[in-house]
């Protein structure tokens, strides 16, 4: 990052041409402009100029490779994975074709910058590549095909197939299965990971000190087993056992993003050292849930999925359980909310009720992917996403919920948790364990 930020910041401020971003920043003076920039870049996507791609160095910068979901340009790999803004915020923006009006990442005066219609918005850097990328496991698999990285998090995707798609009842915004087919074909990545491979990669990754603070496990839903999702629980038990051995039985910060396990299934994982749990309602309305997530509705249903989140708090504690939502999908046509006002009001009301019971709601910025059923839907306004992020952050303030396991540097994909960086330590009942000097 350039050290003459003062000059660039002044230059950016003095540019006369106004934009939607400027207007949004003026309407929301209490929301950091950098976060508004991130929201809009994730909403509209980014396009990399030839100069920007020329500045990308595969030896030191992280490229897109294995991921659960696809991107707007339909390509699997080759482009930069993500951008970093100067406050440490990540921008996980989809590479997007120019005809869809994305931001453009370019090089101006030797600096990598985010631009919009020729105007410089912010200086950015590419995510640094972890040192274990490019190495192979003893079983011959490329390590980044076993564990991918966020700025401070290992991402483990044990399996990328979602069984809700078996009878074509996958979530309508999701392209996980189509993307998996493409990934298996183009990257030759393994369809299913083993615990020993995962532990081997993480052991290697930890040689790079200061890089990682947590491990995230997530995959497509697996409905198989004597009870629904028992097979999925089994995957995670195997992985947690392997990781527990790696850390010598010591507890380690971890996040599981999974199907809606019942309390018995969660206890099997909690006793193996899991420290936080996320299961995604995707949309905070039972009618829309049934339409947008028919497989989740068929196997669990909104009310039971919701209750299992609340049950999870009894095991992991307040501030350690969350539901992800696909921010904006509640406005999908034809059955979504008619107006952004109504969508915000209803979504935040339900988020507040979940927050009261110790469950955080975390939002992504929806962008319709070409491999999904919702590929032709339109995204809501920038204002909507700003207000949604602010509202979800305020829920956490009101109900004193930290969200460290899914924050700006553990995940980097949620503008609401970016805002929650400013939350003090709420303790949530754990502080009495701390001794004084």
């Amino acid at each position: 990052m350039s050290q003459t930020v003062q000059t660039l910041t002044e230059f950016i401020r003095n540019q006369s041409q106004s934009s939607e971003l400027d207007a949004a920043a003026e309407r929301h003076p209490n929301i950091p402009r950098l976060i508004i920039t991130k929201i809009d870049a994730q909403r509209r996507g980014v396009h990399y100029s030839e100069r920007a791609l020329g500045a990308f160095e595969p030896a030191i910068h992280q490229a897109r490779a294995l991921a659960l979901f696809g991107s707007r340009d339909g390509e699997v790999t080759g482009k930069p994975e993500a951008l970093l803004l100067r406050d440490g915020t990540s921008v996980l923006a989809d590479p997007t074709p120019l005809d869809r009006s994305p931001y453009v990442v370019d090089v101006v005066d030797g600096r990598l910058v985010l631009t919009d219609a020729g105007k410089i918005i912010e200086e950015v850097t590419y995510w640094p590549k972890p040192k274990y990328y490019g190495k192979r496991t003893t079983s011959g698999v490329l390590m980044e095909h076993v564990v991918t990285a966020r700025p401070q998090r290992f991402n483990v995707f044990p399996s990328s197939y979602c069984h809700f798609w078996t009878n074509d009842k996958g979530c309508q915004y999701c392209d996980i299965v189509n993307h998996q087919k493409q990934t298996l074909k183009e990257l030759k990545a393994p369809a299913r990971l083993r615990g020993h491979d995962i532990a081997e990669v993480i052991r290697e990754g930890l040689k790079e000190t200061g890089r990682f603070t947590t491990i995230c496990l997530t995959a497509g839903s697996d409905t198989r087993g004597p009870n629904a999702f028992d097979t999925e629980v089994g995957f995670y038990e195997e992985i947690l056992d392997a990781l527990s051995e790696l850390f010598g039985g010591r507890p380690f910060p971890s996040q599981l993003i999974s199907s809606a396990f019942d309390l018995n299934q969660l206890e099997r994982l909690a006793k193996r050292g899991l420290t936080s749990w996320t299961t995604d309602l995707e949309v905070l309305n039972p009618r829309l849930f049934a339409w947008i997530c028919p497989g989740k509705e068929e196997w669990v249903g909104y009310a039971r999925w919701r209750q299992r989140l609340i049950d999870g708090v009894s095991l992991f504690g307040r501030g350690r359980v969350a539901s992800g939502i696909v921010g904006g999908v509640e406005l999908a046509k034809p059955h979504g909310y008619a107006t952004e006002e109504e969508a915000l009001k209803r979504t935040l009301a339900e988020a507040d009720e979940l927050g009261r019971q110790g469950v955080s709601v975390i939002s992504t910025v929806w962008n319709p992917r070409p491999g999904s059923k919702f590929k032709d839907q339109k995204v809501p306004s920038l204002d909507y996403f700003i207000r949604l992020a602010q509202g979800l952050h305020e829920v956490r303030v009101r109900h004193q919920l930290n969200v460290d396991y899914d924050d700006y540097r553990r995940c980097g994909n949620h503008p609401d948790t970016d805002l929650s960086r400013v939350l003090p330590d709420f303790g949530n009942g754990r502080t009495q364990e701390v001794t004084h000097d």
């Binding site: 910041t9 970093l84 406050d87």
Partner: protein
């Protein structure tokens, strides 16, 4: 005002032993927090780097607020008879990449228990000398009405 001489003075002051430093930041609600003995470095580009070891600290949150909303912080540095106040604005939070990595490893070499959270880069807007002797001499010349007359009698 900040000039090369001021940066040089700051750099020399930080190298003196003993040196006392304090970093003061302001929260969104106006509450001030001061940390004593911050680990501070002056870069070749005339910015200040501050090593923050606690992600959860009030200072860390306040520095973020200052970066987000272009608010000033103040770094006070004193050694012997010389004291400076450095007024600046945090402009970069290094949480990954070569700057963070270099400082993480360096901090660990000095203290194996160290766990660096962030390296804050602070743009220097102004370095003001606040050495007591200097300020007193200046006040005596520019604001003579503030000096007690008995000081003049004892001096004569």
């Amino acid at each position: 005002m900040t000039d090369t001489r001021s940066i040089d003075t700051l750099t020399r002051l930080l190298k003196r032993d003993p040196v006392v430093a304090a970093l003061t930041t302001i929260a969104a609600d106006g509450q001030a927090t001061t940390v004593l003995g911050p680990e501070i470095f002056v870069t070749a580009q005339a910015t200040v780097l501050y090593r923050e070891f606690l992600e959860s600290s009030a200072t860390n949150r306040n520095l973020l607020h200052a970066l987000w909303f272009e608010k000033r912080i103040v770094l006070a540095v004193s050694a012997g008879d010389t004291a400076l106040n450095v007024h600046g604005v945090p402009t970069i939070a290094h949480v990954a990449g070569p700057v963070f990595q270099e400082h993480y490893e360096s901090a660990q070499r000095a203290d194996p228990e160290a766990d660096l959270a962030t390296v804050w880069e602070i743009r220097i807007d102004e370095i003001v000398e606040v050495s007591p002797g200097f300020l007193k001499r200046r006040q005596d010349i520019e604001r003579p009405f503030f000096r007690h007359l008995d000081r003049l009698v004892s001096a004569s």
